[in-house]
């Protein structure tokens, strides 16, 4: 009985995974919650591919990325992404290039929100903070190096 329900369970999840792979269901509808694959990705490109289906982002001067040049404490690095001058901003993602898992957070915006996010992130060492903005179906990015004097992933 136990074995049977176990098999049933694996089959069911297997079927769901196949459906996702075949593109029948978009990941966002299946996983109302969390894109585990994107957050587990080890490189920025892999993470972007799982979130947006593409890692090709054009550098844009319209994104204002505000981060300190030197962060004394990597555990609390203030980062602000301001894309309010761009129209049709659908989503913003913040990545820390050399973190073990680079994707820090993604924000999806509805009609009542503007393309602006300010938050604080953890950074293990000196690296680039990357802001990805999806506007009008295209990806744009801004990058800035932050020197970290005390790493933040251990504490």
């Amino acid at each position: 009985m136990k074995r049977r329900s176990f098999l049933k369970g694996t089959l069911a999840t297997g079927a769901a995974a196949v459906a996702v792979n075949a593109g029948l269901l978009t990941p966002s509808t299946v996983l109302a919650d969390w894109n585990a694959k994107a957050f587990a990705a080890k490189t920025t490109d892999d993470a972007l591919n799982s979130v947006y289906g593409s890692a090709a982002a054009a550098a844009s001067g319209d994104i204002k990325l505000k981060a300190p040049a030197i962060a004394e404490n990597g555990a609390v690095t203030p980062v602000t992404v301001d894309a309010t001058s761009m129209s049709g901003v659908e989503s913003i993602a913040i990545l820390a290039s050399k973190n073990p898992m680079p994707l820090v957070c993604t924000y999806n915006f509805g009609a009542a929100a503007q393309g602006y996010v300010s938050t604080r992130i953890k950074m293990g060492e000196t690296m680039n903070v990357i802001a990805i903005v999806k506007a009008g179906g295209k990806l744009f990015k801004a990058e800035q190096e932050v020197k970290v004097t005390i790493g933040g992933c251990g504490g």
């Binding site: 969390w34 894109n35 602000t80 957070c105 929100a113 602006y116 300010s118 938050t119 604080r120």
Partner: protein, 102 residues
């Protein structure tokens, strides 16, 4: 356990910058306990939703790389008197929510 959220924000000219300060340890699951040699179990907020008058405005996914006691500021198209609600969930199923009249 309910997660504690403090919110602040005022609408001005149809735009409101809403700031939220959340009390949460944001344990990524990678930090080692030196005494036992085992990692501290992961406990971090992974989903944050913001609604304006019940309509979803922001849906955000976080990883354990967001700082402990997270701070978040967003810009919303809202008029004064509108009700902004932040609700969040962490990876262990704990939830928290808070509403604010901007």
């Amino acid at each position: 356990m309910a997660i504690n959220i403090r919110m602040r924000g005022k609408a001005k000219g149809g735009v409101a910058e809403v700031k939220a300060l959340i009390k949460h340890e944001m344990e990524s699951g990678a930090r080692m306990n030196k005494k036992t040699g085992k990692p501290y179990p992961a406990k971090f907020i992974n989903n944050v939703k913001v609604t304006v008058n019940g309509v979803e405005a922001v849906n955000s996914d976080w990883s354990g790389a967001v700082s402990a006691n997270p701070y978040m500021a967003i810009m919303l198209n809202a008029n004064s008197g509108d009700e902004v609600k932040v609700s969040l969930t962490d990876n262990t199923g704990d939830t928290g929510e808070q509403t604010l009249k901007v």
